[in-house]
Symmetry: D2
Subunit: 203 residues, 4 copies
């Protein structure tokens, strides 16, 4: 799958979705895919971030991660999104990125991207499913091809069995409760594999 | 709240949702509400049920529970639904019940019922959120008033923090993994309380 | 695309979704796909159907259409669903069919089916979007690959521009209001095309 | 209903949702409610707005409309949201507003607000339903009480029969295609009426 190009696009405030993004990149690279890990632009003012130790640390830890652009979406054969839930929907930062891709969308350049998504929340049922589904609804507008994990591998059951994408619960201490690394890697491989089929088919 | 009439309408194959329904009834009765616990009609053939020990036991355990009718919906000020997830949506048995209420709906008799819902699944993220949301979408067609638990009580966090309604994971042994009894009772009280406001307001 | 096998699975009470299914079959056959048009089992009692002239006529018109089975799902590389909306969700008849595919699902035989869906309603915004999305949520549980029309062809704008799948409004007289034939055929071709990519990729 | 406080919160780029918001305010005021019409903060840079005549005109036309704050949410008994669809979901501007209400939410001050929503799109099925449903999912996290129009008045059928909230199609010329004014007013009255019941009940 050396010729599949994957963009892993994340928003992370506490570090969890950056970690998920890195695991996805790792899993995809093991298949030979070319991977870019990319963050969406922050909307919060610097002063608010400064006042929150965890957030500040995440901004610092991701300071060398490039901000995603339309050119990255155009470049990609496959996209994996990774975002925390915000009231059962993607965060505004990710929504803002999607909303500003209208130009790309209007010229048909979002069509046939193979996509899947990952998420995190502080409660086990705190909007994980709804957040993933919100991303897929938007992707249908893009003409993307949606390939979620479903129950395609036993490793998914250990990670909570979310068929819409890997989701993880984050404890009060900011640490992930379930061990989802293997599930993330499986999801990344599946996304890249389907993208390879789609890419070859289009050639 | 002596004058609020609550219908708890469930479908249960393994007993979990019958148990949730009974807890909801208990919680509602503690507020003084008049409660009916009602099952929806089974669609599976008797022969299939006979071949499944757990299912057969549930059918036996619920044999004296009345089958819900349009008259029950008309009677109710409030409705709590309780169903297992089936591929991220309510089971066909519950859908069949809703679908056959077209006559009641067409005469405006589903309007202003105060509703909430509960669910169960075998995986922690096995469609709990999506199933609850599927019920609410249909309820918007009915002109119902939707009052989910949200995060209106600390007891909800212990039950998994599902803001759309109480949800529980059922293990391989058929037993509930989280302790959701207090969350169910809170949800029932909230549903009845909002129904009381709506009922008084309409008088 | 001679080797792609497409199952068009519909439920129709008034004839609209049977018509949509036939157009989809036509569009798919033009690409060389092998197509089966299949109905789901009726749940309504014969007496109710007899009392409704339109419904009776549809049952009569579709009496030679085979009832879909698990073997058809297993056979298919691609599936197009076509259903009327029922309170913003698929009808119980279709849900019952999906729910009874648990055996197939448990053995992984629903994985990688390429799917899309079509729908109808009596109001322009009477649940068309929500109904299509309800089918896709279930398909994610199946591990299916979802390829909706998006805005992949200008013909879709004339049909109402529903990116989730072709949808049509049915007037009081039972006739379709928008002209969606070309959109249906485009959708069928897109579904088959993606299925061909996936099928070849898996070989 | 003199004592019901309604916040109509909108985002508008082309003027449609500002118009819907004004009609909602008008309908609510006819019932005696106290109404604030409020816009969410813009996220687009001034230079982008300047380059778009229609957008610039809307910003100019709404320059005296106050930007909504947490204090407005706290003040309100009822909220009506009005937003254009952006890829089947609310625009990032509205999402950003919701996301930044975490402080209010954490102190329970979003509970029992009575809410409904309105939307617009350029295609008749361009995400109207999905956008409204995305708002309600978030509102369930807030512990809000959702009172959509359903089919509670014949006027709704003329406006497209969207049970989740009034939705309108905007033509290439920027003008609304359906006549939804009466439907908007009905929705506003229903939202205020249910809010009055809830408010009285809580006293």
């Amino acid at each position: 799958m050396a010729n599949v190009k994957l963009a892993v696009i994340f928003y992370s405030m506490g570090g969890t979705n950056y970690q998920l993004a890195q695991w996805a990149a790792e899993g995809a690279r093991e298949t030979g895919a070319e991977v870019k890990v990319l963050k969406v632009e922050e909307l919060a003012p610097q002063s608010v971030i400064e006042g929150n130790e965890v957030w500040k640390n995440t901004v610092e830890a991701t300071k060398d991660v490039p901000v995603v652009t339309s050119a990255d979406v155009e470049w990609a054969d496959a996209i994996i999104f990774s975002v925390p839930t915000r009231f059962g929907n993607m965060p505004s930062q990710m929504k803002q990125f999607l909303d500003t891709q209208g130009g790309l969308w209007a010229t048909g350049k979002t069509v046939n991207k193979v996509v899947s998504a990952m998420t995190s929340a502080q409660n086990p049922h705190g909007g994980q499913e709804a957040t993933l589904l919100s991303l897929y609804t938007s992707m249908m507008h893009w003409g993307a091809i949606i390939a979620t994990p479903g129950y395609t591998d036993p490793v998914l059951f250990g990670a909570g069995g979310n068929p819409y994408g890997t989701s993880v619960t984050v404890g009060q201490d900011g640490k992930m409760i379930e061990d989802v690394q293997a599930a993330v890697k499986h999801q990344a491989k599946r996304t890249v594999t389907v993208a390879e089929w789609v890419k070859k088919g289009q050639q």
